[in-house]
Amino acid sequence: MSHDTNAATQTPDESAGALENQALRRRVLAFIAAPSPEDFDRLALDVHAYQYRANPVYGRFVDRLGRPAPATWRDVPAVPAEAFRLSVLACGPAERVYRSSGTTAGQDRRAHHHVPDVDVYRAAALAGFARTVLPPGVRRRFLVAAPERVSHPASSLGEMVTWLRAAYDGDTIPSFLTDGAVDPERFAHTLDRLDHAVPVVIFAVTSALLRLADWADAHGSRWHTPAGSLIVDTGGCKGYDRDVSRDTILERYRRLFDIVPEQVINEYGMTELASQCYAVGRGPHRPAPWLRTLVCDLTTGREVPPGEIGCLRHVDLANLGSVLAIQTEDLGRVRDGGIELLGRVPGAVTRGCSLLVETTRS
């Protein structure tokens, strides 16, 4: 369902759409570079109006809902994240197609995010990281146990890691993930030889660090990371043997790397989102200013009162080329001006001898 917009054969409408896209692109990039919260609403409504016209699948979705045009960004119709498994949601030909890992849904039902303009994603990813983790211009040695573009070309995380390394990393040690699994010996070998005068950024999927911690426990290994070092982890316990609380993870990092919680930053992102949220230590996740997150009741679609648990709905200006608003099944609640993440909605479990079968499609 992607659309061919060949410049040589563009209709007047398409030309107008392209111009509108360019104008919005400039505004979104300007917002990312210098956010002005008072402009968010107007920009979000303009992006929505553009996507309604330029993204035919989204347009049909909005028409189906039959609601009045949104008055504020909170009213922008949000597609279920599931829609990224079923349809191509894009405002033009994709420059990149990112795919979810498919670990829970199966390879054939992975979400795919068609991104027509990778530069907007890049700008959002780098600016978001710079706001919370490392200011631009700083150089750090990165120890990575996460996907990278070369090994995972369809991974949006891998793309981001590659950009971050290009922006910050003066060294580029290959990722300690090999075929999706952490190589603890190689990771440990590098940690053993760290220069204690030079701080590092350990950027890793959480499961890789937990496996490294398991390995270290078994081998009696511990490391004293250089002062000023940071850990950026992501992905929760997906891929690990069991669910582990955030407090336990922070404690394991403390013992493993001799690092305090304030040096640990958790990244929350989705294949379907160009922007990220970051949480420092035990604090809540805070979205970048160009991403706003609501906590909603799935059934009614309405926001839940502050402090109550609901499912996260993201409104991401950096999703200019696909869909602005996405309703997820990630649980959370508003806390301390941010969002406390509480994992995914658990699957329904049958209550007895009724049969509950996941919807199938031939």
């Binding site: 049909r60 189906r64 349809s87 209550r351 007895g352 009724s354 509950l356 996941e358 499609r361």
Partner: protein
């Protein structure tokens, strides 16, 4: 005078391994008394129990109506229907007829019945497993009853009523409450019993099977469907089907999840589906849906959103209802199968003829428990053929789907024959229409 055995003292507190073993041995020891009773005496005793639940002032019924809405989430009217259906099916004529049909040739001396049965109950629909307990006692098998964690009340009332109304059975049935999944207790129970009848999720049954019971009858996860002949797609049928769907929120194996409708015209099908969705919505007042967990709400939401999305993008699907979590009817004309998330969401599949339901149901082989038929009796043979081909264990008038007879071959097991002999009672012909 029956001697008091303190091991049989009623308890609702969780058992320890030692107490479970002692209880099992005490109940097993009562088997001689049970087998000394003639079949007629057992039927009479069990009939008294059923009668005691059906009187206007039945204390058991009153207590169940007070406690079960809390434990199950179902409204009192649904519990009332469940109790009435259950105990009306357990009167003497039905017990005698099933005994005659299944155990007429059984020689208890040549093939003694098991010395102890363990019934591991589920909490999804009130009364699931009660037929099995009554059947075991009727067949001369002492029984331990393990209630589900979320619904301990009805099993306790069942045992109380038997002990009170039929004192000749008081030594052969006991409540055995423990937390399922507790390895030591599960293993002890599996070792002590000669026969285990277990109800519930396949994972639960697999875990029990891993404990090595000598014989395990698995009453696992299944679904039912409505089969509607062309001229029967009326508002009255829609109302009946909606009630069968709403009674236990599609949580039972006899709950309809799929509707195969013999189509007159697409417009008629749409009209019927819309009426059905309206009827389901209207029942929310009389039979409010049980509260859903977060996971259940999300599953329902995902289902409805996914079907709406598919319809929007051109798949041959129409969604009726389903707004704000309300019941829905999804009319599916695609070649793929769509499964209900339960909780009052039906999938309607139009078919050219009744016989064409068979290929629709083929992917569900081994999963279909019952078929509720709405249509003229002179086309029953066609419905019966569909039921046989689908491997259904029950074919009945649509309005009787949630009111199974005692003789129902639940999960394919002969009600009594499967208890005393190693036979599954698999049907190779169509089930009786009852």
């Amino acid at each position: 005078m029956i001697a008091y055995d303190e091991r049989l003292a009623p308890t609702r507190a969780p058992l320890t391994t030692g107490r479970l073993r002692a209880l099992a041995q005490a109940v097993r020891a009562g088997g001689n008394d049970l087998r000394a009773l003639t079949p007629e005496a057992r039927i009479a005793a069990l009939d008294r129990v059923a009668a005691s639940w059906l009187t206007a002032d039945s204390p058991w019924r009153r207590q169940a109506l007070s406690e079960l809405p809390m434990s199950t989430g179902y409204p009192e009217p649904a519990i009332a229907v469940a109790l009435t259906n259950l105990w009306q099916a357990l009167r003497a004529p039905d017990l005698a007829a099933t005994l005659a049909a299944e155990l007429a040739d059984h020689d208890p001396h040549a093939t003694p019945p098991p010395g102890l049965a363990l019934h591991v109950l589920a909490g999804n629909v009130p009364g699931v497993g009660v037929f099995g307990v009554i059947a075991a006692l009727l067949a001369g098998i002492p029984s331990l009853v393990k209630p589900a964690a979320r619904e301990p009340f009805l099993p306790a009332l069942l045992v109380d009523s038997i002990v009170s109304v039929a004192p000749e059975l008081r030594r052969v049935v006991a409540l055995a409450p423990w937390r399922g999944g507790t390895a030591e207790l599960d293993s002890t129970a599996a070792r002590e019993a000669d026969l285990v009848l277990a109800y519930g999720r396949e994972a639960t049954l697999d875990a029990l099977a891993a404990r090595g019971p000598r014989r395990l009858l698995r009453f696992g996860q299944r679904l039912s469907l409505a089969l509607i002949a062309r001229n029967a797609a009326t508002p009255a049928t829609a109302a009946t089907l909606a009630r069968q769907t709403a009674l236990f929120d599609q949580q039972g194996c006899l709950s309809p999840q799929i509707v195969c409708l013999e189509e007159s015209s697409p417009a008629e099908t749409d009209r019927f589906a819309a009426t059905l969705a309206d009827e389901l919505a209207a029942l929310e007042h009389e039979l409010p849906r049980a509260p859903l967990t977060l996971g259940e709400s999300a599953t329902v939401w995902r289902f409805v959103e996914q079907q709406r999305w598919r319809a929007q993008e051109g798949d041959a699907i129409v969604v009726h209802g389903g707004v704000d979590g309300r019941p829905s009817v999804v009319c599916n004309r695609t070649s793929g199968i769509v499964m209900s998330p339960t909780f009052r969401h039906l999938v309607l599949v139009p078919v050219p003829t009744l016989a064409d339901a068979e290929p629709v149901l083929r992917p569900l082989a081994g999963m279909i428990e019952g078929i509720g038929y709405a249509g003229p009796l002179d086309r029953l043979a066609e419905a019966s053929d569909v039921a046989a081909r689908a491997g259904a264990h029950r074919l009945c008038p649509l309005e009787r789907l949630q009111a199974p007879p005692f003789a129902w071959r639940q999960s394919g097991y002969g009600r009594l024959a499967s208890l005393v002999a190693d036979e599954t009672g698999r049907l190779d012909t169509a089930p009786a229409y009852a």
